[in-house]
Amino acid sequence: MIDIRTESDLKEALRFVGRNAHLATEDVEKASLLCITRAQEFKNIDLEFEARTEYLNVANYRHKPDAVIAMFPWLLKKCDEARDRFDYAEVLWAYRWVISSTKQYASVPKAKLQMLWDDFERRMWDYGAQETTIYEMKFYFYAETGELDLAEEQLRLYRAAPSGGELQSCPRCSPFLMACYLFDRGRYEELLETIDPVMKGLVSCHSVRRYKLHMAMIAMMMLGRWDEAEKYALMSRKELELDIAILFPFSSHLIYYGITEQFEKGRRIFENQFQYTLMSVPDLQRFEFYTGALVFFTRLQRSGRKNVRLSLSENQLLYEPSSMYSVDSIVSLLTEQIGQIVNALDNRNENDHYKQYAETLRLRYDHIQKPVAERP
């Protein structure tokens, strides 16, 4: 935190936030909020714009999509009021985050999602964004709303279009466009081929390693390459901080630690990450985390354990003052939660994609067993 008494202090504070946003600490978030408050006090709209942009950046690093989405309309509105005064390209870039996250909330109705998408697409075309940017975003959009045929079509268009241009993903990352899709479909050989540069350390930025190495771990496990799976488990775990919500990669770790019976490691992840599922994280991410947790606790159940000690904070969904929890009850609770999220997402998407996907995942991991001699 910085004592901000003048506009000069505020500019200094904004530089501090800008330099430290990637650290994703609570202090940086507090500092960025204070910057907004002070900019309002000074009635300096340019500094307020800068402060809100910085906040968006910090909130994105801290995996708070709800705050990003809720703050975003202010920036968009200011740009619409005075396009030349503010950095519209930066706002459009943030719009990508908004679009990416919004569809993951089942509470956002399909009609609103479509209106949002139309607005986004219109703005991108108006701005002169490359068609690849649109196809890429549409691909994610359809893939996550269960319209797989449409997603494949966007992928085909994406591959046929010339690359490059503003507002496009970093060229080093764009080859990984398919990774999540292949992971979800269980196409592990193709997945490993796609993320090979990350596995070899040729692409080493933190966010790419954070979101790809866990996939390598699961893919190796599913292909029976257990030593390599363990290697990527160690590498991936190093990229994940427990004190911010990183639900998708951690769900993979829960799966892996459950199947390899590394229960202490899995328990620690669950204790730290479960709290975030009770906050306003996207339903899709909650679904992913609960799916991983279900695999983990099912394996714990199969190992013969009836109870498990968990250090969880007080909350409505799961809390025992004694810290001792029945494994059966956790499994039931997770199954019920997954069912609710699947229904909500499918109802919103007007299909049964997630219902089928949840069943696919259950079957996919159910029979995977590490040979006894290879257990760590």
Partner: protein, 588 residues
């Protein structure tokens, strides 16, 4: 297939040199001095001799033209070498295989070209230490040259003559300044003469290399950086090839300031604006170094960014850390003074260096409810260390803490919260607790059941007027009695309030999406602790329900927000103005 040579347009090359490579025509003197020094070093490897460099300036030379002559008694050139090294751009005697490059400053073979920035003709007269006739080389701006042997009995060494162009600004004063700037620390003295009369001998020693103890180190820093330094840190890298001084800036510097440092390589001045020499955190020092292991870039106006520079940077940073650690024993008062001025930089450093953190954390001072105290002083007073991460919260509860004789730290300044949180993890001699206004709300004395029974209805009446602000009233009793209320709004509430306000100004699409994704967790955005020990609050609660309740509560709420440095939204501003008008009406 025929192999041909590129044709080089000398005029074009010169334009590139003057426009892009060199920052100023004035560097010609550095290039000539450098050639002289390199020639002297080359001769030293062959024989023992007494080296000299002389620079002569003739204000009224032949036809009134200004002339500069730089002479040395270095190794000199043979006729073949003249061809090789003066007539081929990019060829340097110092870049040949088998030559110990560490001995030389230059090695790019472009230095002499810089002379064409000040003169249309460069004349070199030289006799080589290897023997043979003296030689003369005349280079012209159009790229042509002549070379010849001359039958003159001249001493071993080289003279370079430049006829200064009319358009070039150069006089004896400027030339002397340039010699001082570039060459005064060279190991060979420079004899400077004007119009044939010896003016002075220029040579200085780097003060940190002197054996005698005087204030010459500080004088150099003051002269270089025009700052009134009083403390400095000797610097030396792991090889001993880079040495120098870090001057501690005698006032607070803004976080992230990148200071310009002064660099000499092999005693030749390179730059006063080196930004990459020191670690990022060392923004409280300005540095002068002489290096034998760093390399200059081709322009010799910057240092080359390579792994040696990284090692030197790390070592010079370590010197600063070691010095501070040593100071804690030898001169703690000076250490305190340095920490007081440069706490931000040192806190940043500590947070990135565990060992340094463990040493220095106890020396840091923090603003507290009892004034500025070092952590060691705080621990002498309490083992339960309470700190507040937000300055506004600290300001609000300061009177309460003081009245309750409780020491609290204002950890709202940059890095203080992280320092105290970090201490909580490693310091087992005390407990560290982060608190906020709500903490005081929780530990403040509850009023009795009887009091609640008596005034509960009244509080409900007053609460009605606070609903519009999403502010919850809570009755407490606390010291000092003079304080009627304490206002609390958490960061989460600040965000929620802000989001709500954005939503209200958004269209249906965005408002709907915000509602769908954003979770408003707080029933109330803020809380107002009413102090039942305060006579005004007692009077308010004892009074019957009245028309003026709204006016009073709103004023109380807005005042407490302003005292807490919370921004008022448009509705609150309107209410404040309307209430002022109503108050005036009541008074009038």
């Amino acid at each position: 297939m025929n192999t041909s040579l590129f044709q080089v347009d000398l005029n074009g090359v010169l334009k590139v040199l003057s426009d892009s490579l060199y920052s100023s025509y004035q560097v010609f003197i550095r290039e000539l001095l450098q050639n002289s020094i390199d020639a002297i070093n080359a001769r030293k490897s062959l024989e023992a001799f007494d080296p000299f460099i002389s620079v002569s300036y003739f204000a009224e030379g032949e036809n009134g033209v200004r002339t500069v002559c730089v002479e040395d008694n270095g190794t000199g050139l043979t006729l073949d070498e003249v061809d090789e090294f003066l007539s081929k751009i990019g060829s340097s005697s110092k870049s040949r295989k088998g030559v110990d490059r560490d001995t030389f400053i230059g090695q790019f073979g472009i230095g002499l070209l810089s002379c064409f920035m000040v003169s249309d003709e460069v004349v070199v007269v030289s006799r080589s230490a290897k023997g043979g006739d003296a030689v003369k080389w005349i280079g012209n701006i159009d790229g042509s040259y002549q070379k010849m042997t001359i039958d003159q009995d001249i001493a071993i060494g080289t003279k370079v003559f430049l006829r200064v162009k009319d358009t070039v600004k150069l006089d004896e004063e400027l030339l002397e300044k340039l010699l001082q700037k570039y060459g005064s620390f060279l190991e060979v003295p420079i004899q400077f003469s004007v119009n044939g009369f010896e003016r002075k001998s220029l040579q200085r020693q780097f003060p940190w290399l002197r054996q005698t103890q005087d204030d010459s180190v500080l004088r150099l820093g003051r002269e270089k950086f025009k700052d009134d330094f009083s403390s400095y840190i000797p610097l030396r890298d792991r090889t001993g090839k880079t040495t120098g001084i870090a001057y501690i800036i005698p006032r607070q510097t803004h976080f992230g300031t990148t200071n310009a440092h002064s660099v000499y390589i092999k005693r030749m001045f390179i730059t006063d604006t080196c930004m990459d020499l020191m670690p990022e955190w060392a923004f409280f020092v300005r540095v002068v170094i002489n290096s034998e292991n760093l390399s200059p870039t081709a322009s010799r106006e910057e240092i080359y960014k390579n792994s040696t520079l990284e090692e030197v940077r790390e070592d010079l940073g370590q010197c600063i850390k070691d010095y501070l650690i040593e100071l804690s024993e030898s001169d703690p008062d000076t250490l305190k003074q340095i920490i007081q001025i440069h706490s931000t930089a040192l806190k940043f450093l500590a947070l990135n260096d565990t060992e340094f953190f463990a040493f220095i954390a106890g020396w840091f001072s923090f603003p507290t409810s009892e004034g500025s105290l070092s952590l060691n002083e705080i621990k002498e007073r309490t083992k339960n260390i309470l700190y507040i991460s937000e300055i506004d919260h600290f300001r609000q509860i300061l009177p309460v803490a003081r009245a309750n004789k409780q020491l609290i730290i204002n950890a709202g300044y940059i890095y203080d919260t992280e320092i105290l949180t970090g201490l909580g993890a490693i310091d087992k001699t005390a407990s560290y607790q982060s608190i906020d206004v709500e903490y005081y709300g929780n530990i403040m004395k509850d009023v009795s059941i009887e009091t609640i029974d008596k005034v509960g209805g009244r509080i409900q009446d007053l609460q009605y007027h606070m609903e519009a602000f999403s502010c919850e009233l809570e009755l407490k009793s606390f010291a000092p009695e003079s304080l009627p209320v304490i206002f609390f709004m958490s960061q989460k509430s600040v965000l929620e309030r802000d989001i709500k306000s954005i939503k209200e100004e958004s269209d249906d699409l965005w408002a709907g999406i915000t509602d769908a994704v954003f979770d408003y967790t707080h029933a109330y955005h803020s809380r107002l602790f009413l102090n039942y020990s305060n006579p005004i609050i007692q009077k308010l609660l004892d009074a019957p329900k009245a028309k003026q309740d709204r006016l009073f509560m709103e004023t109380l709420y807005i005042n407490s927000m302003l005292l807490g440095h919370y921004p008022l939204n448009n509705d609150e501003l309107d209410i404040m103005n309307n209430n002022m008008v109503q108050l005036l009406e009541i008074i009038i």
